[in-house]
Subunit: 185 residues, 4 copies
């Protein structure tokens, strides 16, 4: 099976980005990694902390407002258009509203071949990795771990609790039809 886009959904510090970077390395074709971090960088600085934008609360909770939602809808259209124009996309996302976010992407990506991948990690392990990053913001890993997967349908699940990012990437790559030609890393 040939896919146009792979959607990796998981909580903060679950290891999505590491898996995506490994996928880029082992897949023979160029895949583009687009993620929630990419999107945040595009926005005006003032949108962070604005109730209409996005608020990162000290509890680790994230609140999203109407302006953020509107711009994110346009971003989704852009991602879909890149895939339709032939770019292979590795989408690294955090479904804060779980299945509601999956439905949004299903509508936007209509007609494309999507591989839905759930990236799991035990909360205690994800929290430890959050500490190891040395970021000032702590708490998102714990809150998001279970939340983002609720009722979401996946073609494949990987778990980084005891499995390295590269090994998870290889599990995902194995179900792509071009897996026999995978470059060895």
């Amino acid at each position: 099976m040939d896919y146009d886009i792979m959607v990796l959904n998981g909580g903060s510090s679950s290891g999505k980005t590491g898996i995506a970077r490994c996928m880029q390395s082992i897949l023979p074709q160029p895949w583009l990694v687009l993620g929630v971090d990419t999107f945040l960088q595009l926005l005006p600085a003032r949108i962070q902390g604005d109730p209409d934008g996005i608020q990162f609360l000290s509890s680790g909770e994230i609140r999203i407002g109407s302006q953020y939602r509107k711009v994110h809808a346009a971003w989704r259209q852009g991602v879909a258009a890149m895939a339709r124009a032939g770019a292979r996309i590795l989408l690294d996302d955090v479904f804060l509203r779980s299945v509601a976010n999956q439905r949004q992407w299903q509508i936007t990506l209509h007609g494309l071949h999507i591989l839905w991948v759930g990236v799991h990690c035990e909360a205690a392990i994800a929290e430890g990795r959050e500490l190891a990053r040395g970021d000032h913001m702590i708490g998102m890993a714990r809150i998001q771990t279970a939340l983002v997967h609720h009722d979401v349908h996946y073609d494949l699940n990987v778990d980084t609790t005891h499995t390295e990012a590269l090994a998870c990437a290889q599990q995902i790559a194995a179900i792509l039809n071009n897996s026999p030609t995978l470059a060895t890393p």
Copy 2:
């Protein structure tokens, strides 16, 4: 006049990104900054240095291969789709092939209201700012200064040689139809 997308073209260290960030700050609506740096981050690491990808030569010259071109064409479609879906876009680009790149964007952005802005800076000043960044790669500012503007048509030109990024941003903002409602920075 209401614009969907503003294209800021200029050489490395000419000050495009600083202007774009100031625009985001002074314009009342959220504008997304998308640039060549955004695009480079999406690509597999191995594409840098690959003849089919993108090569940054020690002379400051940049060489682009077929694989890079294909993926960039898809990226352009994505940018256009975001604008068509209602996101306001500040495109921060370096037209290494000058008017040929402008034509590519004109085709891709067909039907959208585009403001073409040339961002100029004297070569010696751009080179000094390149040193001030402390990057390991030196030489792009000098090579790109004149090259990227050759035969390119602009609606507006700004020059950062003696003008601050914020003042350039205000010059650009002044010709948008919503300028009377500009927030004071």
Copy 3:
């Protein structure tokens, strides 16, 4: 005159780091840039926001507690020891308590040849450059502009309001005794 250490004091967004990077580029010997940003990276993440540590208030004000002060005193001893061991140091600092900070450094750096450089920039220009960085934290430039220079003695003053970082670096380099051998950038 041969200096062991050059201290560049100026408010946030006044251009100290750009000048220091240019100095590194034009001076024939290797100089080390050490600054307040270097120091902040060494600290535990939790020290930011802690009353005993360092607090960046939304007003742009910075508050410093006892734990931060103790660790910073040890940091100053480290910087002095590097200089005494033969490393040439470009110290990029923000004297939040102006002349009191200068006295601390004078004591710590006792016996070393110090060049004191005041880095000035008009508040409105520094504020514009703060916007151009696109940081989430705004307001430090305005507050610090005059504050950090109060009663501080300098051997040399530079002003980035209308002068590029490289030109300021050249003004500073001109008074070093090895200036005849300056590499052309």
Copy 4:
């Protein structure tokens, strides 16, 4: 036993920095993380690629010249002085010349209580984590894995192959005399 400095030695991508950041989080007192990455940021950009400076070869090998060595000796004196002035130091290092580097630090840190920690990771796992970072430079993990530990004496060894950074940090913290008062992360 109370330590002034903990030296974490391990190859690239072995997980030293993650352990150090976790140590900062779980230890009640502020510890400063100083590492080879901190040092590299202080240097003039041109020192990278210079035979007298430091060269990162495409094979993953690193070559160090006389100028780099002189400046690094001054850096070591600075680190020692910070520790003597009361700062607790987590030194994150890569002993490219293994026991010869340990002897340099032993001389410089004379009289201080040092905890020597070997940070190990199987080469294949470290290589996978190198890919997961998405850096352009690949190969250092493989070359350095065994090399940096040759004949080096440790008080404690940790292995990140199957153990998380936080768990390794807890193993190290357990042998500090203040471990009963460890904050729970």
